[in-house]
Symmetry: C2
Subunit: 455 residues, 2 copies
């Protein structure tokens, strides 16, 4: 007899995964290596260590070890907010009248409000282990900066955050959360770095971009004794840490004998989606199961659906390594009308390669439709989603409605990456009917893609 | 052998309490009855029903039934966010270097962000059962209004919220959360009610008060066909619903063989504290155990520590019943420098009577000390507390530090009622060194208490 499935499946603390899953180890054709932006040769461990913590550099370069132990100190921190619940969306199913079974993995049950903490605590731990004084980073919507400030506070590390200026101004309360955790927050571009001053001189009125904030954070780390740069998405080391999302999700489903048909996640740089799908994709790559994977991105920043698979710069200042990825060009900045995160111009190399191989689908969705889904979900499931997470909700609802038409009882699993408490500014625009959709024109995209480096 | 205690104790869904505990039924000397503000006679069921939902009126008047069944529909909703975790504060203990064992019941794991949802969903359910179209209410800091809007959205009820004007203006994002759940939010005092217009005429620049918003909400309900007034604290029916906090806490402790020595909660109107202590106090009243209970209130609104035990009005417009309670006088408004909630002039009759009988202690704390505790807690335990909740943290830390001096290994349990995401305005003041403490002078309190009704 099958066990009755509760509203929320909580794994026991003892069931918390003891290893992360390194998805690249399961791929026959690996993602292309990072290249040194000066020499255009594959990055070496030594070169990586100039910018990144040693152990994190090792993890970034390791595409063969399938499982990597999670240190006990990180597991202890995880225990404060993990295992995260896998929720059966009974109320949403009922509201939709769908025969589909919908599950979501909720990662917003921690003060940083998102899944970003899973990697932040790991990166802070390795920085501490290396005897560093502090770390620098960038943040856009603010979730990563918040998570990192919490993690650094826990390990007693200094934390310097470059926050994209428009977000710094629109979200003063995000900044205050970071200050509560003792972080130093600077609006980017700033006068504190050479690259910041250069950008400000060229574009005096700029409201900043993620690519620019990355360059500033990298420069700041290089100028300070005992500091390294850390980052919250795009790199494979982040996907590695985020695999805990997928591992818990799969363990919870397995516990109740449930097999997913569709796995859906929102995709900005790709950390949450990559983490969620990791164990499912690994199983599929081993020929043991078959799933439908869907990456959801904003139509205002359509990296997978309208970008190009090519080597590109990861940041505006071109100080980071080059990555072969789906990209809109490192100069691409989404319309100012775009709400929330998911505004990075590229996509992590692993997901880019999987998409190129046809192992994953991608959909782009317009933000008014995203906020409609967010509100519908909030009203029945009781969780106020972040705009980023609501991209996955949108497609989960769309897929559930298809099941209603066909009568199929598919099992849909999606990642609910975080809460929207600091995004009410955008919700307000939506409520007041002032939210607009903006799709970049073909000409805009072509102009941006023309500037890709010739490699 | 004792089981090792995890960071978070989650009860199973099947362990969710099936009944609320009615603390008054365990008291030999009961709280004094509510009086009709016109006749000064005890309120009857019929009189109560003019303002309140019938079943809620029955619950308010029932001081003899020890346990009351939780309807299945309410339990289903509870399952979306309950049982709530009881957290062992290992990290805080370590940071303090105390031999004390600290536990906190975390009620912030739902989108409304606080314990208020426990009663909101119950009240919305009974309103729906009665066939009402909608409900009206007041909200100060905004937690109750948010919770009620979620609950009404779930049951398809209309929800009209009168939000104290200074809070409405300071917390636009709270308002947007309520709008996301479909509520109608009006700043109080407003021109939409007679009592609002009267107060605005008398005090044109007023930033509002809870007592005034209550009067407006009661009047609005009486003017609308199919509406009743509901409220989030002070009344015993709310304590009844909030007993779920204490019942789960006690069940979780019992499961691990842990006996609490001190139980601490913040106290505004008294709903959270009353709910938390209910099963412990019931046990003590039955002579089966002994606990130290501590109510923590802001020194800027010192109801228990500096108020008077007397009959008083519950609202500014004097439309609600009179209650015998510890009060600062219904005209008392805490200093504008006071952050967050806990600003009500009175205290629920049950807690007032228990305090009067010497069964509970009370402490008042200054807000700069409260925010210090909040930040210290956030940095090690990873949860950003609401200012209200941080009152309990302050005293829990103080008690733990006493244990450090004496070497006692006391078990301290406190209620962490909610999260502070919408209170970053106050955190910012604290970070910038602009937060001040304000204690009402003896003269101010005397002037307010002189106006108590002569009963």
């Amino acid at each position: 007899m099958k066990k009755e499935i509760p509203y929320k499946i909580y794994l026991e603390e003892s069931e918390l995964p003891k290893q992360w899953l390194n998805l690249r180890a399961f791929m026959k054709k690996k993602p292309a290596p990072l290249l040194n932006s000066q020499t255009l040769q594959p990055m070496t461990q030594a070169e990586m260590e100039e910018v990144f913590c040693s152990e994190l550099a090792r993890q970034e370069l390791d595409d063969t070890t399938p499982y990597i132990d999670i240190p006990a100190e990180i597991r202890d921190f995880y225990k404060m907010y993990r295992p995260a619940p896998l929720v059966r969306a009974y109320c949403l199913e009922k509201a939709l009248g769908t025969p589909a079974k919908i599950y979501y993995k909720f990662e917003g049950n921690n003060t940083s409000g998102s899944h970003k903490l899973n990697s932040a605590i790991a990166q802070a731990y390795y920085a501490k282990e290396q005897g560093l004084k502090g770390v620098t980073t960038e943040t856009g919507a603010g979730q990563w900066g918040t998570a990192l400030s919490m993690a650094c506070s826990y390990f007693g590390l200094d934390c310097k955050v470059f926050m994209v200026k428009c977000s710094y101004e629109q979200k003063p309360f995000r900044r205050e959360v970071m200050r509560t955790y003792g972080a130093n927050v600077t609006p980017s571009p700033s006068q504190t770095t050479e690259v910041g001053r250069k950008i400000l001189a060229e574009f005096p009125g700029t409201s900043g971009s993620l690519g620019c904030a990355i360059s500033e954070a990298v420069e700041a780390a290089s100028q300070l004794e005992g500091y390294r740069y850390v980052l919250g998405s795009v790199f494979n080391l982040v996907l590695l840490h985020q695999s805990i999302i997928g591992l818990e999700t799969k363990a919870a489903l397995d516990k109740y004998g449930v097999k997913a048909d569709i796995v859906i996640g929102c995709a900005g740089g790709g950390s949450n989606l990559g983490g969620l799908i990791s164990p499912f994709m690994a199983e599929q790559l081993e020929g043991k199961a078959k799933y439908q994977f869907i990456a959801v991105e904003p139509s205002s920043c359509p990296t997978l659906t309208r970008g190009k698979y090519a080597y590109d710069y990861c940041d505006t200042g071109k100080v980071c390594p080059l990555a072969k990825m789906y990209t809109l060009g490192s100069g691409f900045i989404p319309s100012a009308s775009h709400a929330g995160g998911l505004r990075y111009h590229g996509m992590t190399t692993t997901l880019s390669e999987l998409y190129e191989q046809g192992l994953m689908e991608a959909r782009s969705v317009e933000q008014t439709k995203v906020f409609e889904a967010a509100e519908q979900f909030a009203r029945v499931e009781g969780i106020l989603p972040a705009p980023e997470s609501a991209h996955a909700i949108r497609v989960a609802i769309d897929e559930a409605m298809k099941c209603k038409q066909t009568g199929e009882e598919k099992t849909i699993v999606f990642g609910l990456t975080g809460t929207g408490y600091f995004d009410m500014f955008s919700y307000e625009k939506f409520h007041d009917g002032k939210m607009q959709d903006y799709l970049p024109t073909d000409e805009e995209l072509s102009a941006s893609l023309e500037k890709l480096p010739k490699i």
